[in-house]
């Protein structure tokens, strides 16, 4: 197996991009990544997209986007694993380079979610849950995570205030990210008094509907050393695991086994432990998700994720900075692009390009991307060499 590096990143400002098509936003991000890497061609491309069909009536995206990117006949593949589609595109590109099958590969992610009404978007997102035995009964995604939150509160004493602390922290980080959809800071009171969505989760506990794209360029470490003019970020660990889609089929409603397993695989491959990680971008689609994920990845004991968020251990100057980009919560959550954007934030941090949100001396970073209510998860560990 060959060693792999990330040499280029690109993403546009996320939000309600009504003037642009799914092709436009993807190509913008991809061109920026290509320019950042300084490469003149691609050997292959992977695109993460959860549902071009339901959001845009467009499937066959890999070929379409390769064509619009001017890359014509390169092998292009679209991968789907709900909200973990982007992370899976990154994993796929890494493996292709690792295997020696291709030299320079683009991993991108895109979702254009505001071309449809809010209700149609809710329907499209709900297809990541079990249609016949969850969605049929009237549950929503906030509802599924609300049930995890309730179980977590019951078992560990996690509080409403601890959930809100996650949103406050991520919006604070997002206020320093010029590409974030909602860079506004929020207060504890604002989160705790915002509109109720699915008890105990309120609107400010939820990530938004977003249009956005992100792309990275992956190549062999050998090639990176020859062509890269920037600090080189090496891929040292990756992990990928699945779990039952239906929440009710899980033995424990307060943990996320796919995240735990994906994390363990990534740590093992990298030869690292949670103590070695300088920062992590996690899948905070809802505030409770960040708390449970930080536990599943071993940063905190089960049940300690809430107190850790409240006491500032996950802030930029805390024990483990979590979601310096603003996370899905503030940066936005164009589902298929999220996993790629997480990698971009870590690459920027490791290269020292994160501006006002820069974590000093960041050398090793981690990303964790998740599909549905935890039915899949992809984890990457990156190191600056």
């Amino acid at each position: 197996m060959r060693e792999v590096a990330i040499i280029g990143v690109g993403m546009n400002k996320w939000g309600e991009l009504w003037e642009k098509s799914i092709n436009d936003i993807f190509v913008e991000a991809a061109l920026e990544a290509i320019d950042d890497a300084g490469v003149d061609h691609l050997d292959a491309m992977y695109v993460g997209c959860m549902s071009g069909g339901l959001f845009n009536g467009q499937e066959h995206l890999a070929s379409l986007l390769s064509d619009y990117l001017g890359m014509g006949p390169i092998p292009a593949t679209r991968v789907e694993s709900a909200c973990a589609s982007g992370g899976l595109a990154v994993k796929s590109a890494i493996i292709e380079v690792m295997s020696g099958n291709a030299e320079i590969v683009l991993a991108g992610g895109v979702e254009k979610m505001t071309d449809v009404s809010g209700d149609q978007a809710t329907y499209a997102l709900a297809t990541a849950a079990d249609q016949e035995y969850e969605v049929y009964q009237g549950v929503t995604f906030p509802g599924l995570y609300a049930m995890m939150a309730r179980a977590h509160m019951h078992k560990y004493g996690t509080t409403r205030k601890q959930l809100a602390a996650v949103a406050v922290k991520n919006h604070d980080n997002g206020s320093l990210n010029p590409l974030a959809q909602f860079p506004q800071k929020v207060t504890l009171d604002e989160v705790m008094n915002s509109v109720m969505v699915a008890d105990p989760l309120r609107i400010l506990d939820c990530s938004p509907i977003t249009d956005g794209a992100a792309a990275i360029i992956v190549c062999s470490l050998e090639t990176a050393k020859k062509i890269s003019k920037k600090p080189i970020v090496k891929v040292i660990g990756l992990g990928h695991a699945t779990d039952s889609i239906a929440l009710h089929s899980r033995s424990d409603l307060t943990s996320l086994n796919a995240v735990k397993l994906a994390g363990e695989r990534a740590y093992k491959m990298a030869g690292k432990t949670p103590a070695d990680i300088d920062l992590v971008e996690v899948h905070d689609c809802f505030t409770i998700a960040e708390i449970i994920v930080t536990e599943a990845l071993g940063f905190f004991e089960p049940g300690k994720g809430g107190p850790a968020a409240e006491s500032g251990q996950t802030a930029r100057d805390g024990k483990i900075p979590v979601n310096t980009s603003g996370g899905l919560k503030s940066k936005g959550h164009p589902v298929g692009a999220t996993g790629v954007a997480q990698v971009i934030e870590v690459v920027k941090q490791l290269r020292g390009e994160a501006g006002k949100r820069q974590i000093e001396k960041a050398r090793i970073g981690m990303t964790q991307n998740m599909g549905g209510s935890g039915g899949s998860s992809v984890v990457h560990i990156l190191e600056k060499i």
């Binding site: 009964q137 009237g138 309730r150 509109v195 969505v197 008890d199």
Partner: protein
């Protein structure tokens, strides 16, 4: 919802039919073709015990369009006496009385409908015992 998709789930939604692994006894709802515990492919059809307890719950305030008229409504994960868990609405109950561990029973109810002329969706909801 398509008629075939609706019709093929009737044994589960109307009659609580599940698959019990003939080798290790694990019960699957809905039924499956292979047991994830022992990999056996032999099952018998059984009827679920309709009583159980609430493992967790939420009250949905922002609902999908076909459930908007019902909002706010409670939904929970219920563990039945035979060990099978399922997700279902919790009805005939005040929200403030909802509790983890509360005993409930599945009842046959209307779930939703496809507009004025489409299929009426039936199935189970749970009520406090």
């Amino acid at each position: 919802m398509s008629v075939p998709a609706y019709r093929r789930a009737m044994p589960q939604r109307y009659r609580y039919e599940a698959g019990k692994c003939k080798s290790c006894g694990k019960i699957f709802f809905p039924p499956r073709l292979i047991c994830d515990a022992c990999k056996s492919r032999e099952f018998e059809t059984i009827t679920l015990n309709r009583e159980g307890v609430v493992k967790t719950y939420t009250v949905i305030h922002v609902a999908p369009s076909q459930f908007v008229d019902q909002a706010p409504y409670a939904i929970g994960v219920v563990e039945l006496k035979d060990g099978v868990s399922l997700l279902t609405q919790i009805v005939d109950c005040e929200f403030e009385d909802l509790k983890i561990g509360m005993p409930v029973r599945l009842e046959f109810r209307k779930i939703s409908e496809d507009g004025k002329a489409g299929i009426i969706h039936y199935g189970y909801k749970c009520v406090p015992i």
